[in-house]
């Protein structure tokens, strides 16, 4: 049947922290209108920070996200420490890596098992999938829980942790708590490898497309807390120069700012990180990936889920490494010498590059703040991907197929936990 005109409207995406909508018009087998609106409520965090002391910032910005508060805290503390020329101890750096591993594990495990996997296994919901795949879902929930426990170890609690301060941490975990967590992680590690291999067996759409990957790149390690901003087109930029290339702008259909790199959309997140940092993985993890028959860099956006699984496995291994070498330090933080100036911080949130900029006065008060989160940066890429993928797959398909593909595609970006969970309660009007 030839469809002359299809209008898809999702006026309000339910179950989101923030609000969003999808508008898609197809006329005579051409997309004539496509807008993905991710409405972040007017939370005004940047303005809220003005006049606050720098020491308050880590706890305030943690409230921006319930899933990736660590990322917000880490970008903030790195920014101030860079401005204040603070030299933190190797212990602090290692604990920050551990802290970040916890967040990647919990965020990625949640997405794979409860949000994305039902799409690839043919279930309309995670509960329905859990009935048929209890072992896999239980394993995923337990992996996620261990990620939460890592965050709790250093942050005091897993959601909006409070253990971070500029210069390090308020306290060092007790040896017995570290030993207990290490034992749990080591015991679970074989199952994490199983999970990685299981993800590679899922039937994913085989659609390749051109896109630009952007991530941090550290001199030695797989990037979390440090590195320059790099791209698959050869960009290599100190984080202080981020705004010379990446420009935010307002689109009328979204309250979240769009961001473009030299005027073009770009991809952040696990697939982009792995595309640009595959060589930073340990050789035995590369071997497992090769055995799974998925290659990086990849142009298949649906390999994002496998990339998340790789990062979970890597983060587990990193966590075990850090915990094995754990020793209580003399001080869990460095002393600070407050200076006025502009502070820059940039780290790898689970969903990608999270860039912070603060103007600070001589008393350490915030004069202005700019926070560029990954989900808004991926917004233009998601629209581009929707247009490419739906077109490549054929616009003469029925509306249910197109609707499912749009839902699956957006969830694949893991834009946030709530909106990734069957976020499209679509009303479709055909004319």
């Amino acid at each position: 049947m030839t469809q002359q005109k299809i209008n898809i409207r999702v006026p309000v995406l339910a179950r989101v922290e923030g609000e969003g909508a999808l508008e898609l018009d197809i006329e005579n087998e051409k997309i004539t209108h496509l807008k993905l609106n991710i409405f972040e409520p007017p939370r005004l965090f940047e303005k809220l920070l003005e006049g606050r002391h720098y020491s308050e910032v880590p706890d305030i910005v943690a409230r921006i996200c319930g899933i990736c508060p660590v990322a917000y805290q880490m970008s903030a503390v790195h920014a101030f420490e860079s401005l204040f020329e603070t030299k933190v101890s190797p212990w602090v750096n290692e604990m920050r890596r551990l802290f970040y591993c916890g967040e990647w594990i919990e965020s990625h495990a949640l997405h794979i098992h409860l949000l994305a996997a039902p799409d690839f296994l043919g279930y309309e919901s995670a509960p329905a999938m859990a009935k048929k795949y209890p072992k896999e879902v239980k394993r995923g929930v337990e992996i996620q829980n261990l990620g939460n426990q890592i965050v709790r170890l250093l942050g005091g609690r897993s959601v909006h942790p409070v253990g971070v301060k500029v210069g390090g941490f308020y306290h060092a975990p007790k040896n017995e708590d570290v030993a207990l967590l290490l034992e749990k992680l080591e015991k679970k590690l074989p199952e994490v490898e199983e999970m990685l291999r299981w993800c590679s067996t899922l039937t994913l759409p085989d659609i390749e497309q051109e896109f630009v990957s952007v991530s941090l790149r550290d001199e030695k390690m797989y990037p979390m807390n440090t590195g320059n901003v790099v791209s698959s087109e050869g960009l290599n930029l100190p984080i202080e120069q981020y705004q010379t290339v990446f420009k935010e702008h307002h689109e009328p259909h979204s309250t979240a700012l769009f961001s473009l790199m030299n005027g073009e959309p770009y991809l952040l997140g696990p697939l982009a990180r792995l595309n640009l940092n595959f060589d930073r993985l340990p050789d035995d993890i590369k071997t497992i990936i090769n055995e799974c028959d998925i290659s990086f860099p990849s142009k298949n956006m649906y390999h994002s889920m496998f990339a998340r699984a790789v990062e979970i496995f890597y983060a587990f291994r990193e966590s075990i490494r850090v915990l094995k070498a754990y020793a209580i330090p003399n001080e869990p933080y460095a002393e600070l010498d407050v200076k006025a100036g502009v502070a820059y911080g940039c780290t790898e949130a689970p969903r990608g590059v999270l860039w912070h900029r603060y103007e600070v006065d001589e008393e350490g008060l915030i004069k202005s703040a700019t926070i560029t989160p990954p989900t808004s940066q991926n917004q233009a890429r998601m629209e581009e991907d929707l247009r490419n993928t739906i077109t490549l797959s054929g616009l003469d398909r029925n509306k249910d197929e197109i609707r499912f593909q749009a839902e699956q595609l957006i969830r694949n970006y893991d834009p946030c936990i709530s909106c990734a969970t069957h976020f499209l309660d679509l009303r479709i009007n055909r004319k």
């Binding site: 409860l114 995670a126 859990a130 209890p134 879902v137 996620q144 829980n145």
Partner: protein, 148 residues
């Protein structure tokens, strides 16, 4: 061991923090006669899973948006035949992610049903007769205490 888990679901926004406030209040009054575990959840995912494992009774407290009057108290037990579409839970301010999580936890064997849900209406009609949130918290705490 007669273990009870009480999970308050909330956020930092207005009445939506009701579940957390109930936990705060219960924390102040908590009885040592029973093994009661209190937990504040954001209602996303299964962040409460550690708390409910092995619990004999589980209560979830949340704010609800439906067509009931502001302040109306919703009380359900959630069992394996629970029909979300027919209940106010389908309109909980944390909505499907919460009930999905309950059913997932049950389906993978980490949560025995039934569990109990207590919600207070914070949306819907008749906001002209608003009830202070402190009073709603007090009502829920009294109800829970009477059940323990």
């Amino acid at each position: 061991m007669n273990r009870v888990a009480i999970i308050g679901i909330g956020s930092y926004q207005y009445e939506d923090q009701l579940g957390w406030l109930v936990i705060d209040e219960l924390n102040k009054k908590r009885s040592t006669a029973r093994d009661i575990v209190l937990f504040k959840s954001k209602g996303n995912g299964l962040d409460w899973i550690d708390v409910v494992t092995d619990a004999e009774q589980v209560y979830f407290i949340d704010a609800v948006v439906s067509d009931q009057k502001y302040g109306f108290m919703h009380i359900f037990s959630i069992d394996s035949g629970f029909d979300q579409k027919e209940s106010a839970l389908g309109k909980s301010s944390h909505s499907v992610s919460f009930i999905d999580s309950v059913m997932i936890a049950h389906n993978i064997g980490l949560l025995a049903l039934p569990v109990y849900f207590i919600g207070i209406e914070i949306g819907g009609g008749n906001n002209n007769n608003e009830i202070p949130i402190e009073l709603m918290v007090k009502d829920i705490v009294s109800l829970i205490e009477s059940r323990l």
